[in-house]
């Protein structure tokens, strides 16, 4: 078991690589993940099939842009699978602003937030920066996983909320942007649109964990 990124551990076994974060609330399971006892503390397995960031780790993500005590803006957080691991990483003094448009998904996030106390759930449209602005402060990292046609525009619009040098992780599903066009073509256009304003540090294809999905790791120029 070795630390590969701040707060993230990897274990390589015959069955492949497994990733873990240190459980903020030892003994509590969030989504049915495996718990492991370790000299570092209790570890929670980061399921690479259920979390896009987890899949990216398995496909060689070099930088997560997330450290202890960081503030993270997560657009499209859904029920909280990935957020729970970011919550582990930022620890008691960090904050995850978990934004989603669906009350039903956010309900599970509220339960999670009431336990962990470092998650601020927000019911809002990621496009409405005005509404968001009244509930957050400047952040260290932006993560976005929204299935909308103009998600690149929304991503770039919200990137100003990230401090200088902070990363932005954009998870893109080819079909959300354009149906019927080859994914390769869609992703090439996404990259082009991103590079107009940011540097793309890494572009990771998430298969076999997610079909026709790509994660773009960006930094503001």
């Amino acid at each position: 078991m070795i630390p590969i990124l701040p707060g993230v551990f990897m274990d390589e076994t015959k069955k492949g690589k497994r990733f873990y974060t240190k459980n903020l609330l030892p003994g509590k399971v969030v989504y049915g993940e495996r718990l492991l006892r370790n000299p570092a503390g209790e570890l929670r397995e980061w399921d690479v099939f259920r979390s896009k960031l987890g899949a990216a780790l398995a496909k060689g993500l070099k930088e997560l842009g997330c450290n202890e005590n960081n503030y993270v803006l997560y657009l499209g957080c859904a029920s909280g699978t990935t957020v729970s691991h970011l919550s582990d990483i930022v620890g008691k003094k960090g904050v995850i602003f978990a934004v989603d448009i669906s009350p039903r998904s956010l309900r599970d996030m509220v339960f999670l937030a009431q336990e962990r106390k470092n998650i601020a759930p927000i019911l809002a449209d990621a496009n409405h920066t005005e509404t968001l602005s009244q509930k957050i402060v400047g952040v260290d990292l932006l993560v976005q996983d929204i299935a909308q046609r103009d998600q690149v525009r929304i991503f770039l619009k919200n990137f100003v909320l990230v401090k200088k040098g902070g990363l932005g992780l954009l998870s893109v599903k080819a079909r959300s942007i354009k149906v019927g066009v080859a994914p390769k073509v869609v992703f090439a256009q996404v990259r082009k649109d991103l590079e107009a304003q940011v540097d793309v540090l890494q572009a990771i294809a998430l298969d076999p964990f997610e079909k026709d999905h790509m994660l773009f790791v960006c930094r503001m120029r």
Partner: protein
């Protein structure tokens, strides 16, 4: 130049681009109190929401636990307020569909089991509702007479009461599930009367509820173009068409509407399109508020067109 920044965690005063004063929430103050106090003290100040630059500057000044607390309080209230009538309609129609699946599964079992006792009855009645009613209301003698079958010719065994009763209990369960479905249909009708009467008068409760389910909620349904409404439920065919491998689907859920079902095959596409067009209008009237007679007017227009 003085600006008053309105943030969920408190009120911030900015003078000449510098943050001069912050009033954070405590348990004893409400947002309106803080705002009122600040407006008084800094009369004439411009009121704004925070800019990104200000949000970066505010980060060290607002404690993290306050950010979490305030977000939680707001979100909990928003989630509570998000439960509207269309949510209830959708849950009810989902329950209705779940019941249909269970009724069909139990019906198969009932038929097979009962047929050891009187197979002729199951063969005679295709409709499970009628089958169950006959089974529960009449005894074997009466049923044999009704079926015009004599005791010697029937392939059913003479089971004792203790063996027939468990079968009848299963029939009773199916019967009560069917009653629950009828009850739900009436309940959906009532809900839609108040939430979306125009959609209701065009489609009826079940189809209307299914359209709501497919769209997610009334708001989303009201935003859909009529071409999408026409093909809701035919996603497989639609995407096949979009990828070039097939012609466009004529209808999805709308096929369940009597006007589309009864139309001759070569007119079905047209009928589905007209229906979808009127439904789109009706739903917009329902969501944005308008004349409750629209639904009936639209239906008349449709019928005249026929």
């Amino acid at each position: 130049m003085t600006a008053l920044i309105n943030h969920d965690c408190g009120v911030i005063i900015i003078q000449d681009t510098q943050i001069t004063h912050i009033d954070l929430f405590t348990e004893k103050t409400t947002k309106n109190d803080l705002l009122a106090k600040a407006r008084q003290k800094y009369a004439g100040a411009k009121e704004n929401i925070p800019t990104p630059a200000q949000l970066h500057a505010l980060r060290p000044k607002i404690p993290s636990n306050l950010l979490v607390e305030r977000a939680l309080a707001e979100t909990i209230a928003s989630i509570r307020n998000a439960v509207k009538k269309d949510v209830l309609v959708i849950q009810t129609i989902k329950a209705h569909d779940d019941l249909t699946k269970q009724i069909n599964a139990l019906a198969k079992r009932l038929r097979e089991w009962y047929s050891f006792y009187l197979p002729e009855l199951s063969r005679r009645h295709d409709d499970i509702g009628v089958f169950v009613e006959k089974l529960l209301t009449f005894d074997k003698e009466q049923l044999l007479t009704e079926l015009h079958v004599s005791r010697e010719v029937s392939m059913g065994a003479d089971l004792a009461k203790v063996d027939v009763d468990p079968i009848k209990d299963l029939a009773r369960t199916i019967s009560s599930m069917k009653q629950l479905q009828d009850h739900y249909e009436k309940y959906i009708d009532e809900l839609m009367q108040s939430a979306c009467p125009n959609l209701l008068s065009l489609t009826g409760p079940i189809l209307g509820a299914k359209l709501l389910e497919a769209a997610g909620d009334l708001h989303r349904l009201s935003n859909l173009p009529s071409s999408t409404i026409q093909t809701l439920g035919a996603e497989k065919a639609l995407f096949k068409h979009l990828s070039g491998a097939a012609s466009s689907p004529k209808h999805g859920l709308l096929l369940q509407h009597p006007m589309v079902q009864k139309a001759p095959f070569n007119k079905r596409g047209k009928m589905a399109r007209f229906l979808a067009n009127k439904i789109a209008i009706a739903v917009r009237v329902d969501y944005f508020g308008g004349n409750t007679y629209e639904g009936i007017t639209l239906k008349d227009q449709l019928e005249k067109r026929l």
